[in-house]
């Protein structure tokens, strides 16, 4: 075929009719093994619409789940349907999908604008269409002012936003983001979270993976928890939060005088217990983590003690998993 050098789009088009009633994503008892490692174990899922958080620790199978959706790997058993089509055999549904890979590596020598234009053209857009779309998505992720700078000069958060922008260029119905918040500074996190929430509000199906519960909580209430290749829980984050609240949590505080600080903190109603790890380290026990965190800053200021760090030693996801699996983590 002669390339259309004019880029005015004279190529022929054939119609591909998507199955209208098919769920956006459908996993039917899908398993994936790498050698003797079971990455996914009989996972069944159906997702259509809204923002869904895929939560799991490293190696839980989040990335494998996404690779299967994106046709990067072949399922060992079971069936996967993306808009009713098997993605391993047919990449056609990707015209309605935007994928943000987890990989750090990007084309650092390209400008953000060039990068997005180039990959927009792989959707079959002409150069002019692609440039128009690139401008749109770059302003959507608030990178318009730096879009002609090389990606290599960008901070982690900006790169992450470029990746998101590139995935939105075809106005996709399904957006998959693999660990989009990893390594970003707080400001970038907020921007990215807002972008994701906005996409959800626009009626798109969004999948976000993370290994940090409170990040996901800020984005969505719909959560899938993966653990050791299985879907451990599936549902509303409030329900999960309630489960969590049945379960004691620890907060570690480091300060100049732990005993003095304890006198002030004991006044918080939700605190159920305290212990002293060292002279300078105070451990607080509570079943209502959020409430304690809310009151903690003012209480510390009132006490007049110098607090150098506040930490949740047991990650909240880990606690959930501990609870859900009965302590097998």
């Amino acid at each position: 075929m002669m390339p259309d050098m004019t880029q005015h789009g004279k190529a022929h088009t054939e119609q591909w009719t998507p199955q209208q009633n098919a769920p956006v994503i459908m996993f039917d008892r899908v398993s994936k093994t790498y050698g003797r490692i079971n990455a996914l174990n009989s996972v069944s899922l159906g997702i259509s619409g809204g923002v869904t958080g895929i939560l799991g620790m490293n190696g839980a199978g989040k990335s494998t789940l996404f690779k299967l959706m994106m046709g990067k790997v072949r399922p060992s058993s079971g069936a996967i349907r993306l808009f009713g089509v098997d993605p391993w055999k047919n990449p056609a549904p990707y015209s309605r999908v935007g994928f943000v890979p987890e990989h750090e590596k990007m084309y650092d020598w390209m400008t953000a604008f060039d990068f997005i234009v180039t990959f927009a053209r792989l959707h079959g857009m002409t150069r002019i269409e692609a440039e128009k779309e690139a401008n749109r998505v770059l302003s959507f992720v608030s990178l318009s002012d730096v879009m002609h700078k090389r990606i290599g000069q960008f901070s982690k958060g900006m790169r992450q936003r470029v990746k998101i922008a590139h995935a939105l260029v075809n106005d996709p119905e399904l957006i998959i983001l693999d660990e989009p918040l990893q390594g970003c500074d707080p400001l970038a996190r907020t921007t990215i979270m807002n972008v994701i929430k906005e996409l959800g509000a626009m009626g798109r199906t969004v999948l976000v993976s993370s290994h940090i519960l409170h990040e996901i909580e800020r984005i969505t209430e719909q959560i899938v928890i993966l653990h050791q290749g299985r879907v451990l829980a599936l549902g509303n984050s409030h329900a999960i939060r309630e489960m969590l609240d049945q379960h004691p949590h620890k907060i570690a505080l480091e300060c100049d005088d732990a005993r003095e600080l304890a006198k002030s903190i004991i006044k918080i109603n939700e605190v159920t217990g305290m212990s002293f790890a060292t002279e300078n380290k105070l451990l607080i026990e509570t079943k209502h983590l959020g409430e304690v965190h809310k009151q903690l800053p003012s209480t510390i200021i009132e006490s007049g003690r110098q607090v150098t760090s506040i930490d949740n030693p047991d990650d909240d996801l880990q606690s959930i998993l501990m609870y859900l699996t009965g302590g097998s983590v």
């Binding site: 075929m1 002669m2 390339p3 259309d4 050098m5 880029q7 789009g9 190529a11 022929h12 088009t13 054939e14 119609q15 591909w16 009719t17 998507p18 690779k67 994106m70 046709g71 990067k72 790997v73 072949r74 047919n90 990449p91 056609a92 549904p93 990707y94 015209s95 309605r96 999908v97 994928f99 890979p101 990989h103 750090e104 590596k105 990007m106 084309y107 020598w109 390209m110 180039t118 990959f119 053209r121 792989l122 959707h123 079959g124 857009m125 002409t126 590139h166 995935a167 075809n170 106005d171």
Partner: protein, 440 residues
């Protein structure tokens, strides 16, 4: 929203230009691209220095028949004495009333004019030094090759069978100009040698080794392949358009190198004209062969990169096989059939066909150079082992015949089709493997 309902096989042209353009820009940012290109040019320029040096050095004239010597020391060269009927071995016997010739006149006294040779019988040469006239009295004795002309040489050119038969009357031989022949033969040998080995093989292997092996592999190991594969585009297409980008950089480079060398050697090479126009088809066939060969190698090597992360090892093993085939093809001059089992063998057919078109007299030049004018030492069988002229043996080594049993033009076309077919097969196998490959 019709654009979102398109199949992946629509709008190929837009996708192809996008990936090809992207690939070209990516090459520009890679150091390896510049290293391999600059290194090739430097290496070729170094070889070219030897060529220019050789073209500017006078090849020492050899007095094949000893006519410039003065055996008896009377001041007259042997040839002059023989011609005038005096005894070259007796000091007292010398031509009276004749000025002695300078010895140089008798060194290359009778050049072979290969350019004027016609198809069929050519009557050339004369008995400059009188050897033939001196020993025989009757005209039939002076015409042993029986063509009605006394003391001459018959050169029978049969281009159908590519043979040159040389029959000389007794005592008649030619004393060709070593410098003139040597430069012409050396020039052609250089073009064929550098063309077949330096450009078609070495450039044809090294460009893809550095530029094509990682075309998909590097994207896979760096994880950036995800950007390309998450689009509505078949993997076979990605491979094809990446190759298009690869061609976009290697083909102009090969063409530029060949045009550059053609200009330099065309102006500095031997010949009467300002520029050697007859070399142009040869250089162009070298460029075309190298372009096709590097495309086939590139597709194969890119496939090796997809199969295995150390695909470059497979590529080097393959290059070793092709090196062997290159030697077989060059050394047998197109007489081996194992060369059909290679890529390079077909590339060489294109060069040989181009050389046969550009230099139709090439095989005669070789034959005559190997005959050398008819001088030589008698071997133990009593046959004369001719001493080849300088440049004749290298030219003979690097020249070959397409040997497909068809005309040169048809051989050119057939070899081109075979190479393109090899490239398509390599692409097809590569994309089949790529399609079944799990990308992490």
């Amino acid at each position: 929203m019709s654009s979102r309902m398109d199949t992946i096989w629509s709008r190929l042209d837009r996708k192809s230009t996008a990936i090809a353009e992207f690939t070209l820009r990516q090459y520009r940012t890679r150091i390896s691209t510049w290293v391999v290109m600059i290194a090739s040019v430097v290496a070729l320029l170094l070889v070219l220095l030897f060529y220019i040096e050789a073209m500017n050095t006078e090849i020492e004239a050899i007095d094949n028949d000893g006519d410039s010597f003065d055996n008896d020391g009377d001041g007259y060269p042997n040839g002059q004495e023989k011609l005038l009927g005096t005894n070259p071995d007796e000091a007292e016997d010398y031509p009276i009333g004749v000025e002695p010739d300078p010895p140089e006149k008798w060194i290359n006294e009778d050049d072979i004019n290969w350019k004027s040779l016609q198809e069929g019988q050519n009557y050339v040469g004369e008995d400059d030094d009188g050897d033939c006239l001196e020993y025989y009295d009757t005209s039939s004795q002076r015409d042993t090759n029986d063509n009605g002309i006394e003391c001459d040489i018959i050169i029978t050119v049969d281009s159908l069978n590519s043979t040159v038969v040389i029959e000389s009357d007794f005592g008649v031989d030619e004393d060709p100009d070593e410098d003139k022949y040597g430069k012409e033969a050396g020039h052609r040998a250089f073009i064929l040698g550098i063309g077949k080995f330096g450009i078609v093989y070495l450039l044809g292997i090294f460009l893809p080794l550095f530029l094509a092996t990682g075309l998909i592999r590097e994207e896979m190991s760096e994880g950036t392949i995800h950007y390309m594969l998450a689009k509505p585009i078949a993997r076979g297409e990605v491979l094809l358009y990446r190759m298009l980008g690869y061609i976009g950089i290697t083909w102009p480079f090969i063409l530029a190198v060949c045009i550059g060398l053609c200009l330099i050697t065309g102006f500095t090479g031997p010949g009467d004209g300002l520029f050697r126009w007859s070399d142009v088809p040869v250089w162009m066939s070298i460029a075309w062969a190298a372009m096709l060969v590097s495309l086939v190698y590139g597709t194969i090597f890119c496939g090796f990169g997809i199969i295995w992360k150390n695909g470059v090892i497979l590529a080097i093993l393959f290059a070793a096989w092709e090196l062997g085939m290159a030697f077989v093809t060059i050394l047998t001059g197109g007489d081996s059939s194992i060369r059909y089992m290679s890529v390079i063998g077909w590339g060489m057919i294109i060069v040989d066909a181009g050389a046969a078109v550009g230099w139709p007299d090439n095989w005669q030049l070789i034959e005559i150079g190997l005959w050398g004018g008819g001088h030589g030492d008698e071997n133990w069988l009593g046959e004369i082992a001719y001493i080849p002229l300088p440049g004749a043996e290298p030219l003979s080594a690097f020249s070959g015949s397409p040997n497909l049993g068809v005309s040169n033009w048809l051989a050119f076309v057939i070899a081109t089709i075979v190479l393109i077919f090899q490239g398509i097969m390599a692409w097809f196998i590569g994309q089949t493997i790529f399609k079944g490959k799990e990308v992490d």
